[in-house]
């Protein structure tokens, strides 16, 4: 589980998630990261990533070599000591690949893929050179020099590629000005949603404090039954023996501010959730922010549960919060003729049988 909830204890009305971000801040990272005005703290705006000089050099090297192979295959063939008429077409193909890799390495914010592409290209080049060695018409001295040069470049390529890969996908490679969702250490996106309800914070906290209320608005959850002061048994019912249960304990309970829960070790579903409450300014009621993460543990059961839990996580969470709002403001979830039935249904009264299918 990516989130260390213990670090989130003791907030004082500030609900920016104090989430540790395990990000490799390596030396070659020159990303400009600035907080976005008015956005929650965990949103950052990333500037364009500058690449280190070696990567830059390899990019230009690819472009230059590619251009030479495409436009002057004869010259290249002579330089490395192979028969120029026989290999003209092949060199042009290699040139195209080289050119593509070079352009991509120079233009992509995080060219890890293209760096590995270069490594593969090096391997092809070396194989071709080895094959050419056996050809009696080749100039072996020139070929040996070329092989040494390619080996050197290959080493550089491998160093660059592995370093790019190690930096991690979350560190570079975002588009300019994109927002970043909070992430757990394992890269799983934690989804969050907010709603304002026209009720005092005490009433809202009391509603969330009783976890048996959760299945009334969390569409994926069928029951939450308290088993002790801080623990509850969560259940998702599914046909064909795919139902799943797990225990979660409250890890933070700050009256009128936040409630946090986390599944206990050895649960089939790793589940964390945090709900924060804040009095809305100007008598507008209470702002409620919910974050949740469910990660089933492998296996066919896990896959099924994942499907049930993560169809459209962000939308799902927002819809759950809307239902919560309806429950606390109105006492029941509002139904339309179409929404009262599972799946698409025209806006006309559902038949009794259609309604039962929902249960």
């Amino acid at each position: 589980m990516g989130i260390d909830i213990s670090t989130e204890t003791g907030t004082d009305g500030d609900w920016s998630p104090a989430r540790p971000r395990a990000r490799a801040r390596t030396g070659n990272r020159v990303t400009a990261e600035a907080p976005v005005k008015g956005a929650p703290d965990h949103y950052t705006e990333t500037g364009r990533t500058e690449k280190d000089p070696v990567t830059q050099f390899l990019g230009w090297f690819s472009v230059a070599l590619g251009a030479a192979e495409i436009f002057a295959p004869g010259g290249v063939a002579r330089a490395i000591g192979i028969d120029e008429d026989e290999h003209r077409a092949l060199l042009r193909v290699y040139g195209l690949r080289e050119m593509a890799a070079g352009v991509a390495i120079l233009s992509r914010p995080k060219p890890t893929y293209w760096m590995w592409n270069r490594v593969i290209g090096d391997a092809i080049d070396l194989t071709s050179l080895a094959k050419a060695m056996k050809n009696p018409e080749s100039n072996t001295a020139k070929l040996a020099a070329a092989t040494v040069a390619v080996l050197g470049v290959t080493a550089l390529d491998i160093v660059c590629a592995t370093r790019l890969a190690r930096i991690g996908a979350e560190d570079v490679g975002r588009d300019e000005g994109s927002f970043e969702l909070p992430k757990g250490n394992d890269g799983q996106v934690v989804v969050g949603a907010s709603v304002t309800v026209n009720k005092p914070v005490e009433e809202v906290y009391a509603f969330w404090k009783d976890q048996q209320n959760y299945p009334r608005f969390m569409s994926a959850i069928d029951s939450v039954k308290p088993t002790s002061e801080r623990r509850a048994r969560w259940k998702i019912e599914a046909p064909a023996g795919l139902s799943v249960e797990w225990d979660a304990e409250i890890v933070n309970d700050t009256p009128n501010e936040m409630i946090s829960w986390r599944s206990v070790d050895a649960s089939p579903v790793q589940n964390t959730g945090t709900v924060r409450f804040r009095r809305a300014a100007g008598e507008r009621g209470t702002e409620v922010q919910l974050e949740a993460e469910y990660r089933p543990k492998g296996g066919p059961l896990g896959a099924k549960v994942a499907e049930m839990l993560s169809a459209i996580p962000k939308t799902q969470l927002a819809m759950d919060l809307r239902r919560f709002k309806q429950l606390i403001e109105l006492g029941e979830v509002v139904k339309s003729d179409a929404s009262a039935v599972a799946g698409p249904h025209p806006a006309r009264p559902p038949r009794q049988t259609e309604m039962e299918a929902r249960q």
Binding site: R284, E329, L330, G331, V334, D337, A338, A347, P349
Partner: protein, 390 residues
């Protein structure tokens, strides 16, 4: 029961559908005594509103008798005669408590669809697409009405259906259009569109003390009703008159103090602009044809108000924002907060200040709804408003 259902563009059909049942404890079931076809139903009919599905029951203007109420309904009783407002509003959320009923935060179960299109969701509406909730409409024998203690307005038996039915939508909508103009003594108000909502906007502008109301349309019979029944002082046919020039001439070069757009997304104009708008709309490059609101903005006097009550669907272009900004215009708009206006307008009807039945040109059986849609859509037979009797 029988109900008028949407079955694709320009195709409605009266079908057998299941009777409505109580789905929430604050619901009521109404036996519909009268229902009407709204100009905005024509936008659905002509296929301009997204998220419609085959078999959707249409209709958001209806009234009738309460047949059944849910357990939590306290005020409404079986047998009450009620008019139902078209926006569905819970009465408990911040928007409802602040008199913004068409922005109810709880009544649209499909809010997530509306949020994708519009950023945030407005209230649910009867029979008006799945984006606005997927609620069955009132062009049927029976209708389920959520939040029965909040929306439906009881009316006494001495008023005819035809006098009070339009409290459900078009009278309050026209009234809100006039109210948003902030009319002061001496004001000249121009109204684009002399459909039923335009007629009520004209009548309401007079009711609110406008010195002069100028009505704009292209059908002589509608302009005649505007003059003779709604109280317009001047009428202009936009196919014969250059509206901008005529409005300047009528106002000493200033332009009307406020302009009301009661036309909406299927506006007609002429020449290249008509061709351009139609081409773009038919290719779905824009959602709406906005020639009426363009003209209203360009015509309005400096510092004046443009009040938009015509319905628009999405994203549009050639919107004269430069005129709005440079000439300090105020744009006011919104789906009508019907709940806000029902009682005061019922009083106007009871006191005889206005008889809204003047807009009715056709009464027919519910079974004839498809005919009603056709003639209303084509403005045949001098059609202005169709009332259906289930």
């Amino acid at each position: 029961m029988r109900a008028n259902c949407w079955e694709g563009t320009k195709h409605v059909r009266v079908e057998n559908v299941p009777d409505p049942k109580i789905l929430n404890q604050t619901d009521a079931i109404i036996r519909v005594s009268s229902t009407a076809i709204c100009g905005s139903d024509l936008h659905l009919f002509n296929g301009f509103i997204p998220t419609m599905e085959h078999g959707d029951i249409l209709g958001h203007e209806f009234m009738g008798e309460v047949m059944e109420v849910g357990k939590k309904v306290k005020k409404l009783k079986v047998g009450d005669r009620v008019v139902v407002p078209f926006p569905i509003a819970c009465g408990e959320c911040w928007s409802c408590k602040n008199d913004l009923w068409s922005l109810c935060e709880n009544s649209n179960p499909n809010a997530y669809i509306a949020e994708k299109m519009m950023g945030h969701s407005p209230a649910g509406v009867f029979g008006y697409s799945h984006m606005l909730g997927g609620f069955a409409g009132g062009q049927a024998e029976y209708a389920r009405v959520p939040f029965a203690d909040v929306g439906p307005l009881k009316v006494s038996d001495d008023l005819k259906d035809e006098q009070v039915l339009f409290l459900s939508d078009i009278f309050p909508t026209g009234y809100m259009g006039a109210e948003m103009c902030g009319i002061k003594p001496g004001d000249t108000i121009a109204v684009w569109g002399c459909g039923p909502v335009g007629q009520f906007a004209i009548a309401s502008a007079k009711l609110l003390g406008a010195e002069r109301v100028i009505a704009i349309d292209r059908f002589p019979y509608r302009l005649k009703i505007a003059r003779e029944r709604a109280g317009a002082d001047v009428t202009l046919d936009f196919q014969e008159t250059n509206i901008l020039e005529a409005l300047k001439e009528l106002t000493g070069g200033r332009g009307p103090d406020a302009c009301i757009d009661a036309v909406g997304l299927e506006a007609h104009t002429h020449g290249m602009q008509e061709f351009y708008d139609r081409a773009k709309q038919s290719m779905r490059l824009v959602s709406d044809r906005i020639s009426a609101v363009r003209q209203a903005i360009l015509s309005c006097r400096n510092g004046g108000t443009v009040s938009i009550i015509g319905v628009y669907g999405g994203f549009d272009d050639k919107f004269p924002l430069g005129a709005v900004m440079n000439r300090s215009l105020t744009i006011k708009t919104g789906q009508c907060h019907v709940h806000r206006y029902m009682k005061p307008l019922l009083e106007h009807i009871e006191k005889g200040h206005i008889d809204p039945s003047f807009v009715i040109t056709h009464k027919m059986e519910l079974e004839d709804a498809p005919v009603g849609y056709d003639i209303f859509n084509l403005r045949e037979d001098e059609c202005l408003k169709v009332v259906l009797k289930p």
